[in-house]
């Protein structure tokens, strides 16, 4: 693999950029792999990457029915944070956040991780208490956050109206090392690194069946033929339920549409990410200058990648109230992502009833920020059969009544 650097770009510029290789190789599937990962989104690719990097397992194929990074990896609002309340969540999201810090260097691919700081606004007394509790929990979890007052919020984000007539800003939970990254680059960087380790990334390859013998997985049927494997990781987000059905078990998952939008680009005016859960909106400004805005999810199952306009309306309304200057900006584009949510809104990283089959799904609206941590943990689970990062995220927790509920701190899990 040709290393990327300013020097390499300069050298290539002198020869019309003819020397750049494919970022990832295009190969036909082999007959058999040690591990097959289904789903070449961020989570699937990261799982493959850490299987190779941390456990030396490189006879791996990542199968993708569309194009890699084409699902929620490329359809989110790119927020990265780890200020979660519950221990298991804080552990995996902080693992992810810390891996984002060095991801560009690890992958030799600039994913533009930008720890520009993130504020979750408290706009009711209930939220004030909830976020203070989260700050206390974070202090014990090794997650750096702090509770800040309204004046500090205003300093960090001067365009905010902190004394709106309805929900004045009472303070916020601030994570200085939270921020954003370039979402597509995360998928592309992992794909390039996986390919460099000799793994096969096979696009346009849809899995149509899971083959088993004596309760153990032996391979998959795909649109490009049957492929054998010893272990199978299902990392297919919204389609997890459909794939689980192929393998003969059920999951506590529902797929719903999540709305997002961007404005036209304007000159930089907002250096932090702001989330306002009371009024259901969050906003940051991309390096291109667009205001990136996320909203709510529909309450009904939906696979169409387009959602309902009234959520956009609710979100924009709230953000115009919070950031009055955006009223005369224009919405450039809106889109929907299909997110998979579980019964407690926390993910599943788990063994399954089928020996050798592992599942990683249910990230809901929080998937992007978790990618490296999720891949790291899933790789450990698949390689060793156990990981402290995934223990609490078992699919069997629902039967035991042992939930991981993040909504309790008034923090909507996105």
């Amino acid at each position: 693999m040709k290393r990327y650097s300013a020097f390499a770009v300069a050298r290539e510029a002198m020869r019309q950029h003819k020397g750049w290789d494919r970022a990832w190789a295009k190969r036909a599937p082999k007959k058999k792999y040690d591990v097959i990962i289904v789903g070449a989104g961020g989570h699937g690719l990261a799982t493959a990457y850490y299987l190779g990097k941390n456990f030396g397992i490189t006879n791996v194929a990542v199968l993708e029915k569309g194009w890699l990074g084409g699902g929620n990896t490329g359809r989110n609002t790119t927020i990265i944070r780890s200020n979660y309340l519950q221990d298991p969540s804080a552990a995996i999201y902080e693992k992810a956040r810390s891996l984002y810090e060095t991801m560009s260097q690890d992958l030799n691919y600039n994913v533009m991780f930008s720890p520009r700081g993130l504020i979750m606004l408290a706009q009711t007394q209930h939220e004030v208490r909830g976020y203070q509790r989260t700050a206390q929990a974070n202090a014990l979890q090794g997650v750096q956050t702090e509770w800040i007052g309204p004046q500090r919020v205003k300093e960090l984000c001067p365009i905010m109206n902190i004394s709106g007539p309805r929900y004045p800003v009472l303070g916020g939970l601030y994570q200085e090392r939270g921020g954003t990254a370039r979402h597509d680059a995360v998928a592309w960087g992992y794909a390039r690194a996986c390919s460099d380790m000799g793994m096969d990334i096979i696009q346009q390859c849809e899995v149509t069946g899971v083959r088993q013998q004596n309760g153990k997985v032996v391979g998959v049927d795909t649109s490009q033929g049957a492929i054998d494997c010893d272990k199978l990781g299902m990392v297919v987000a919204g389609h997890a339920g459909v794939m689980a059905k192929m393998a003969g078990f059920r999951l506590p998952i529902e797929s719903v549409a999540l709305q997002a939008l961007v404005s036209e680009p304007i000159k930089p005016c907002m250096d932090v990410v702001v989330m306002a859960n009371t009024v259901h909106g969050y906003m940051s400004q991309s390096d291109k200058g667009e205001m990136v805005i996320g909203g709510g999810t529909d309450g009904f199952n939906n696979y169409t990648q387009r959602g309902s306009f009234h959520h956009i309306e609710e979100t924009v309304r709230a953000l115009v109230e919070t950031f009055p200057m955006i009223s005369r900006l224009k919405m450039l584009r809106q889109w929907g992502g299909i997110v998979d949510v579980t019964g407690d809104r926390s993910p599943i990283l788990s063994k399954t009833p089928v020996d050798g089959v592992f599942v990683n799904c249910g990230w809901g609206t929080g998937g992007f920020k978790a990618i490296p941590g999720s891949g790291w943990a899933m790789a450990e689970l698949m390689a060793k059969g156990q990981s402290p990062l995934t223990d609490e995220f078992s699919m069997y927790r629902f039967r035991e009544g042992k939930f991981i509920d993040e909504s309790v701190a008034a923090g909507v899990a996105h």
């Binding site: 339920g241 506590p252 998952i253 529902e254 529909d298 199952n301 169409t304 309902s308 009234h310 039967r399």
Partner: protein, 109 residues
């Protein structure tokens, strides 16, 4: 932006008048049920890409809960019906069969 016909008051209700209530025809598992049955009832979901049965409340309208047969891939609505039933009425099933031959959902087909 869905429009669903409320079988109680006859209004074609805008999505903003409605409240979605999740999967329909769940069988309540109460005291005496197994852990499996209880988990199934509360958490396991069909979540199909295709024909689905779900609950809706005409929240801003007559306040009644009704059930809808809807395709989650195209958003086509095969029909809506009153909630006081344990399985979809035959005419709804026929309507689905006409459009999606060979469909199945849970134990219904």
């Amino acid at each position: 932006m869905l429009t669903l016909h409320c079988p109680y008051c006859g209004v074609d209700a805008d999505e903003t008048d409605l409240h979605a209530g999740g999967e329909a025809h769940l069988k309540r598992a109460s005291t005496g049920s197994s852990d499996d049955a209880f988990e199934d009832y509360l958490f396991m979901r069909e979540n199909p890409k295709g024909v689905h049965f779900e609950r809706w409340r005409h929240a801003y309208g007559c306040g009644k809960w009704f059930l809808a047969a809807r395709c989650t891939a195209t958003l086509q609505v095969f029909g809506t019906y009153r909630a006081q039933t344990h399985e979809p009425p035959q005419d709804i099933k026929d309507a689905i069969s006409a459009q999606r031959p060979g469909w199945s959902w849970g134990n219904f087909r």
